[in-house]
Symmetry: C2
């Protein structure tokens, strides 16, 4: 089984791109990734593309061939949809295609247009990722669902709004130097606490923003990287995927996300690393509480201990395991179908040393990414390592 290298990464700035189309955004990311990789577009054998709500936001489904065309790729293309984990699945399947020998070069990533819709339309469109029969009809959209998870967490393990606000503050601080981040500005705990309540205990600054953007990575076999003498020091060494019942009410524990724990266990076993080897993580903090649940599911902390670890600063820039040095979904932004690819791109930059926050993890060789769909009804985890 061949190894898989990240040969190049490409991102659009995350934020509001009024007047640009989804295909325009994805082409920018894909061309940027190919340029970063030094791989000619004619070598690309397949496009693995993630998108969630294009049929609603741009009346454009069947986006895979359209994105291949926009990016100037002559290859076939496949769209993956796993809600907010769409690009994570696209990357995972690209890893598997390289390993199995089906292809030596793939582009994987995703794209989402969201700011062209009204806030109400976005909330309704995102709710399509929840269980329509058993959640949405009862009025449960994602802010409410994650609020229930936060309440369940507080009741089971303790924790406070202040603890969650600290996570938002941390991720905003991390985003300041990130040229792709939607919010390159700091916030204070006070401002987060004083922001409008969305669904108790969550306030506005506990939530990620509405974002347009695209991500792409070029994945190649080790043989191809060697033959072409590519500078591709980062390998994807582990991949895992998990699933769970969609409706929160059907879970055994509302403050646990076993789909992510399953994905992490699979990814760690695949890579042959233990959770305690992880030195840096990019996790799916669509809400601040989600970052806590993610760090626990990844095995960085025991269940119930993630909030204390965050409070102590273990996940801060200078902590044991910096989490979301990119700024995370919270401050970098969350163009839904692009996020899983963005995490791979950011982790690659962090590990190879050209991320504005790479100085926080200069000796790190093992990173992990955590991408989740819905209230973690689906999850994808990847292990990235600096190849020795």
């Amino acid at each position: 089984m061949t190894g898989v290298r990240v040969a190049g990464v490409g991102l659009t700035p995350f934020g509001e791109h009024a007047g640009r189309t989804g295909r325009d955004l994805f082409a920018e990311a894909a061309l940027s990734a190919l340029d970063d990789a030094g791989v000619p577009s004619e070598d690309v054998e397949h496009l693995n593309y993630g998108n969630f709500m294009g049929a609603l936001a741009e009346r454009q489904g069947h986006q895979a061939p359209i994105m291949a065309e926009a990016a100037g790729l002559g290859c076939a293309a496949t769209r993956y949809e796993e809600a907010c984990a769409s690009a994570g699945v696209a990357v995972r399947e690209a890893v598997r295609a390289v390993r199995s020998g089906e292809a030596d070069v793939l582009v994987a990533g995703g794209q989402e247009r969201m700011t062209n819709l009204s806030t109400a339309e976005v909330t309704e469109s995102l709710a399509v990722a929840a269980d329509e029969l058993f959640e949405v009809r009862a009025g449960v959209t994602f802010p409410g669902a994650y609020a229930l998870m936060a309440r369940a967490y507080f009741e089971a393990y303790g924790g406070s709004r202040e603890d969650l606000a600290e996570i938002a503050v941390k991720n905003h601080a991390n985003a300041v130097p990130n040229e792709y981040a939607q919010y390159q500005r700091e916030i204070t705990v006070e401002r987060a606490l004083d922001s409008p309540e969305v669904a108790s205990p969550l306030h506005l600054f506990d939530a990620c923003p509405i974002t347009d953007g695209a991500s792409a990575v070029v994945l190649v076999s080790e043989e191809y990287a060697t033959e072409r003498n590519l500078d591709a020091p980062v390998a994807i060494t582990g991949t895992g995927q998990g699933g769970d019942r969609a409706a929160l009410q059907d879970r055994a524990h509302m403050a646990r996300t076993p789909a992510a724990a399953d994905a992490a266990a699979e990814a760690y076993a695949d890579a042959g690393v233990a959770a305690d080897a992880v030195e840096v993580a990019e996790v799916h903090d669509c809400f601040t509480i989600a970052e806590v649940l993610a760090t626990e599911s990844l095995g960085l902390f025991e269940p119930g201990e993630g909030i204390g670890a965050a409070r102590r600063g273990d996940t801060a820039r200078d902590g044991d395991v910096p989490v979301n040095l990119s700024g995370g979904l919270k401050a970098k932004g969350h163009p839904v179908g692009a996020t899983g690819g963005s995490q791979i791109a950011e982790m690659t930059r962090l590990l190879r040393g050209d991320h504005p926050n790479s100085d926080a993890v200069t000796d790190a060789t093992v990173g992990v990414t955590h991408n989740a769909g819905g209230t973690v009804a689906s999850a994808v985890v990847h292990v990235l390592e600096v190849a020795r």
Copy 2:
């Protein structure tokens, strides 16, 4: 590389399922496939699921974990969206997962709810599979696009409305004994010709209907089939996928579908068979002209000769290569996201001898399926063989 067997197949009746949900339909198909296979649901390692317009038709995206739950599967699940070829891609990726050793048992298939929408809503929702910027905004929806393809074909190669009507008549006749078909009734050439014009030269009876339905197949490794002593005589020996520019206007030839030709070439090479070895085919006849283009792209006939072959009866039940013995999309129905899986299910039944039309192909050992997205901007082809 291990071989892949179709251990079991499951279908809902295709047609109008008022009052039933998509998850209900898919669960029926998946449970039926598992029952047919004699495979316990706890052995299923992944669900590969195709759906096209669920976010529009049922306001339900993120359907993969929901469908896994509905079918009683405890595994992770992935949704593939490639317009009308969604389930074809889902099957293809399942074949590759078995071959690479990632899994021994997968369920693959798809589902679509359509009749709960008005006809105008369905037309608009299907148009999401066309190029929104360069086709739909100009008023081109699929009946118009395929009408353009038919006109281009007639101009380049000849042919007539009568020729196309004969294809509809053939497929309706094939559907009569098929218990899963939406239209188990014959039509006449006269009735087809007299049906209302939709987009010249296509009339209503040149088009497939609006359909609810689901399909599922259980794919297993040869090793698993042998160990469990499964009765699974049909193998998927070849898989191929192709892509093309989405907008019809950008194609070199409007009466050619090179994405399907590429997919066929890849599938034949993969299986190690030539096109002239194919004894029976299920093809994507969303419109009658599409069947002609499909048979040419599959290499069953040279470009321009498909219509003459159809006229001569080469694709009829008693012809050299019977096409769409299931009734095809035209008469069996076309629940978009389910169709690619339905083709695999029908071909499996035909080859193993338990299809109501198996008597037309009693000695056949090689069959091919052709599933297309949009105006064949994407295509998936599979070769199925009776294992010797």
